[in-house]
Point group: C2
Chain length 350, copies 2
């Protein structure tokens, strides 16, 4: 896993706002972080060149273009998407597979990226499934929720792996040295919840210094400050994040309606405008970088489909941080140690 290349492949196509926005994000990232040594821009060459010229970074020695003629659509089925061999996304994965690049950023179709990455890059030794991890803002802090959809049916061992993956993601992305890890369940007394959760709880308790496991948590705790990493399976996590978005969207509409219902309320809303802007800014998805697909050989970051150039820049900066700090190497070691601990506990020959 110690790759010589620190190049990052950028899937320039397939973003909602078009390749221009992606290239602008590339420009911002180059300016922001001098440690970025090499970005490989993957997509339709003529379009990439046009936008590089527009942004004034055509010919930048830190940039390479790698042509790809196809685009995977946002609504395309993953089984169909991953068959598009000359698509920008699949070409990015090929670059990681051949170790020409060590990381990639894509705004494209999530299902195709998860399927493609798992098939092309395969999992790191010791892991059984990947996990899609995400940063979520709360009032005064950020936290990590995983898995949000890569692995809907999870064994206790896989849930334990999610905890390790999330802990490593949190350390790098949020800079928290010993992230507090909570296992999401219903009822926090021992013996409550499902058998799968009880078994996972036992595993996590046995990991000692490997992670900072604080125990079982309930839905009530998710947005509270006492948990840095919320661990769950991809079924629960995906439903949870989408429902929260749905609730958030509903509330936004409701506020809009109520605050414009008459001239007095409208005036009040204008005077409090900066409060609403501050809240909107806090939950702006472009601030919180992209969701890494953890567990595969390579750094794979899924940025929001509707990312703006700031979102793209943040995703590239995160990819670079993950490379600088050797995230996957740390994961590899921790997973091996954890697997050994539970193997020993279960009395099987090591």
């Amino acid at each position: 896993m110690d790759l010589d290349s620190k190049a990052i492949a950028i899937d320039v196509m397939g973003a909602d706002r078009g390749p221009g926005e992606v290239i602008e994000g590339v420009k911002f990232a180059l300016k922001q972080d001098p440690q970025i040594s090499s970005l490989t821009l993957v997509g339709i060459q003529s379009e990439i060149e046009t936008h590089l010229k527009k942004c004034g970074i055509f010919g930048n020695p830190r940039l390479t273009i790698s042509p790809a003629s196809e685009i995977i659509g946002m609504d395309e089925k993953p089984t169909h998407g991953i068959k598009k061999k000359d698509s920008s996304m699949i070409r990015c994965l090929d670059l990681l597979k051949s170790q020409a690049c060590a990381a990639m950023v894509s705004c494209g179709n999530t299902g195709s990226l998860m399927a493609g990455a798992t098939v092309k890059l395969r999992l790191m030794p010791g892991l059984e499934r990947p996990a899609l991890s995400t940063v979520i803002p709360s009032k005064d802090h950020l936290f990590i929720l995983l898995d949000v959809g890569a692995n809907p049916e999870t064994t206790p061992k896989q849930l334990m792996h999610n905890a390790i993956l999330g802990s490593n993601h949190c350390q790098i992305e949020l800079g928290i040295q010993k992230p507090k890890i909570g296992l999401l369940t219903i009822g926090t007394e021992e013996g409550k919840g499902t058998e799968r959760i009880q078994e996972t709880h036992k595993y996590l308790k046995s990991l000692g210094h490997l992670i900072n496991y604080i125990g079982l948590i309930e839905g009530y705790h998710v947005f509270e400050k006492d948990v840095d990493v919320v661990v769950c399976d991809g079924f629960v996590g995906n439903i949870l994040i989408k429902t929260c978005e749905s609730l958030f969207h509903m509330l936004k509409e409701l506020f809009k309606e109520e605050l414009t219902a008459n001239p007095v309320r409208k005036l009040g809303a204008v005077l409090s405008m900066r409060a609403f802007k501050a809240i909107k800014h806090k939950f702006n998805p472009d601030r919180y970088s992209a969701a890494p697909l953890l567990g595969v050989n390579g750094i794979v970051l899924k940025a929001h489909g509707s990312s703006n150039s700031t979102g793209i820049m943040n995703a590239i900066l995160t990819a670079q941080k993950m490379l600088n700090q050797n995230m996957n190497k740390h994961i590899l070691c921790a997973v091996a140690e954890a697997n050994q601990i539970i193997k020993d506990k279960e009395g099987e020959p090591a």
Copy 2:
């Protein structure tokens, strides 16, 4: 299931605001609905009498007192709670078991109520597990979410039963004739999600006129107007409702902080006060009655621990509506029919 008694047992003890609030709710309910023929107030007799006198309804011919000396605490473990045989909650369940009452309302410990009701009342024929159902407000409509915690590990057949239970609850509580039923999953294409969901989807599609099944839904749809009943297992539902409460609480705190950050924002907030009040009112839990534990022999309603007298009144009115409209009889017939359909489908002898 055709009980002669239409009496409703009221667990007067164990509410956060004390027995006085419950008795006031009883008074409001009696005034509101002349169809309420008999309420049995269960708890410490002297306390009940004191509050009845305070409310001016002592000696009301529609009221009976049934003494109980113990109270199950809010934080008591269910296994411990249900052993308190002379507690107001367990005495209520006894009244249902002996058919002296047909329904009950309690603000007490949810775990004890679920465990006690399942053990004492047992499930209606054809059902395998109870489900706790709840009404949730959205922008311009209300919807039902179930199960929110009674049955964390659910088979496809049990999930199908949840759909039937929720449909019946929705008809009575929200007055929707053909509630639109959605099965909560990740990814709505056929073949996505878990095997359990795919199997349930097949079952629900085969039920024909029995319920108005609209298909698979994702988290995105939960707060949207196109679904009246969101069906899931008790693990997902419990985490979902508690996380939404956690998000909602966090946002409330955030708005408070931002809107009071300086005098201009404060003035704005004062002018828009009625908008915030309208939103707060929309999400006031006391408006949406109590959560029925569906599937048991009898009507069991769990009101919020912190219910005020309006909340108690609404719970009693809902219990009366469920009795008037023979909810459990309808459930019994629908479940029998559904079980027959899937039995036939699977080619087993009927």
